[in-house]
């Protein structure tokens, strides 16, 4: 009995010791910064001088800041295009690959390859692909007699180009998640439905779709959180241009915080972005719940 007590006491100590590193790191690099972000949003801070309390000034400034609204609009534009297209493309290819044919594994690997490149490598490659005169895309369009546009140099098409590139680079990862979701649906469901005389479409609508609700929710949540924080692609491909067409919210936060040293203002925008992401995630949750 005494022995057991000793073991329990020891475990209590060792257990806490083993989890100490992640807990400490969380306190120093997540909780403290979170509190600082809230605090800094109400100050004027340029790193060189001590933060000055400025009340709601940063938030009022945001309302009248033309560039904030441009960045928000660009980010929304990217999200509205990328999230649904990304979902459709990854679900579509997953359904396509959910087959018993030969060489499915090989094609799965080939579809997945672009995911392995970093965002910078992908953007550098696409900078070349989208070159108006020599690039691969306009070259292929040229074969079909189409005179391709200037893509990244056209303010109307620049963001669309970034969406196109992100789809190419990212769909494979979510396709794999959907595939593992599809593999989890018991084959007996489909057999039973076949016996009942359900057609292909009906089987998709009443078995596949409902079984994938959880996966769809997961993928769409990750997509939304990711797209509202889009930065790398716009930074490498277009530096926010042409004519601010690809300035995103995170890009604007980065510029304010690290180029203009408006740390207070940058923190205020990041807090607003945080609230936007939380709201969108909740809305997404409601939509997914309604579908069940």
């Amino acid at each position: 009995m005494k022995d057991k007590n000793r073991i329990m006491r020891k475990q209590n100590l060792i257990g806490r010791l083993f989890v100490a590193p992640p807990v400490l790191l969380f306190l120093i690099f997540t909780l403290l910064p979170m509190a600082m972000a809230i605090g800094l949003s109400f100050t004027d801070y340029d790193i060189i001088n001590a933060p000055k309390f400025s009340g709601l000034h940063n938030f009022k400034k945001m309302i009248h800041d033309e560039f904030f609204w441009i960045a928000l609009r660009n980010t929304c534009y990217y999200t509205v295009l990328y999230v649904p297209l990304g979902l459709l493309l990854s679900l579509g290819t997953a359904l396509f690959l959910n087959s018993e044919r030969r060489m499915v594994g090989l094609f799965r690997t080939l579809f997945y390859l672009p995911v392995l490149s970093s965002s910078v490598a992908t953007a550098t490659l696409w900078f070349w692909i989208l070159n108006p005169q020599l690039g691969l895309l306009n070259g292929i369009l040229g074969i079909f007699g189409i005179d391709g546009p200037a893509w990244l140099y056209d303010s109307k098409l620049a963001m669309l180009s970034i969406v196109m590139m992100s789809l190419w680079a990212g769909f494979g990862g979510n396709m794999m998640i959907f595939l593992s979701g599809l593999k989890g649906i018991p084959g007996t469901y489909y057999e039973a439905a076949k016996v009942e005389g359900a057609g292909r479409l009906q089987r998709f609508r009443y078995i596949t779709m409902p079984s994938l609700t959880k996966t769809t929710f997961l993928v769409s949540t990750m997509l939304i959180i990711g797209t509202f924080q889009v930065f790398d692609q716009a930074f490498v491909l277009t530096k926010g241009g042409p004519g601010n067409a690809t300035i995103t919210l995170v890009y604007y936060i980065y510029n304010n915080g690290f180029n203009n040293l408006n740390m207070g203002y940058a923190s205020a925008i990041s807090l607003v972005l945080f609230l936007i992401i939380v709201t969108m995630t909740i809305i997404n949750q409601k939509i997914n719940k309604a579908e069940i």
Binding site: V19, T30, M34
Partner: protein
């Protein structure tokens, strides 16, 4: 019936080849461009083949910028991330799965919730915490006077040493193992660390490999945070170096593609040799 099936097969394979062409052709074209002399890049840009393949573009990248240094920096950072995340993640995951201690449920819930906080919100304050960290990089006890952890490997390694994901991931795998493995060892007076290290850890090797690969990939490919905290020329990572190279020499497509190939090679090779661990990692993400 038979012809219908064959027709279905043919159109499936045709579709599969078409999609594969879209995903793979640009990558092949990247490699082809990196091997072409400049003249041919402009005269014969679309072709995958060339009569004069050469490695000159690769030589150019290393001559123009300290690309080898960037490569080493990235390798050091990515490998450190793997070591700390796998070891500390396993340690904490094991503790949450197998040990009883006070504050267990609460601290785990808090860690989990931290996965929901988007990185951008904590980015600026995290930079400040690193810059004003007391007693390092020339800082005094109040964090003034020096540069703290900025332009030091620790600026990446320390905040990312063990994320909530690593702990959560490892905990799931330790939970599948039986409790009584430890009982006998405990009675024999074996230390808790030894039980973890000698008995439990070897049993989840595949999971540790999977976590290691995922950590390596995200460390190697990271861009924004390394750009912010490692900005001096000799501390840059390969991704940051490539992006500045792209900015400065944006018409030297040959060397540019050579740099891109090199920056992609490690993750590509890892994928080729450890594909089954990748699939496991993805299956786990899907089942969260």
């Amino acid at each position: 019936m038979r012809t219908k099936k064959t027709f279905g097969d043919i159109s499936w394979y045709a579709g599969a080849c078409l999609i594969a062409l879209v995903t793979v052709y640009p990558l092949l074209w990247m490699v082809a461009t990196s091997l072409k002399p400049e003249k041919e890049i402009f005269s014969n840009s679309l072709s995958l083949l060339s009569k004069n393949f050469s490695m000159n573009n690769y030589k150019d990248v290393f001559d123009t910028i300290p690309f080898l240094r960037y490569f080493i920096n990235s390798m050091v950072l990515a490998v450190s991330g793997v070591v700390t995340n796998v070891f500390l993640g396993a340690l904490a995951g094991y503790s949450y799965a197998k040990l009883k201690f006070s504050g267990r449920k609460l601290s785990f819930a808090i860690l989990l919730s931290s996965m929901m906080i988007p990185g951008i919100v904590t980015m600026i304050p995290q930079f400040l915490v690193l810059k004003y960290f007391p007693l390092v990089g020339g800082n005094n006890i109040f964090g003034q006077g020096g540069r703290g952890f900025i332009n030091n490997y620790a600026a990446i390694i320390l905040p990312g040493a063990v994320g909530a994901f690593a702990v959560f991931f490892m905990k799931q795998f330790f939970e599948t193992l039986p409790d009584d493995l430890a009982e006998a060892a405990r009675v024999d007076g074996c230390s808790e660390f030894k039980i973890f290290w000698k008995i439990y850890l070897p049993l989840i090797k595949p999971a540790a490999m999977t976590l290691g690969i995922m950590t390596f990939q995200s460390g190697w490919n990271a861009f924004m945070w390394p750009m912010i905290v490692l900005n001096s020329k000799e501390m840059m990572t390969i991704q940051v170096g490539l992006s500045t190279f792209q900015y400065q020499y944006n018409t030297s497509y040959g060397p540019l593609m050579a740099g891109t190939v090199i920056a992609t090679l490690p993750t590509l090779l890892l994928f080729v040799f450890a594909q089954k661990y990748y699939i496991q990692g993805i299956a786990f993400t899907g089942s969260k």
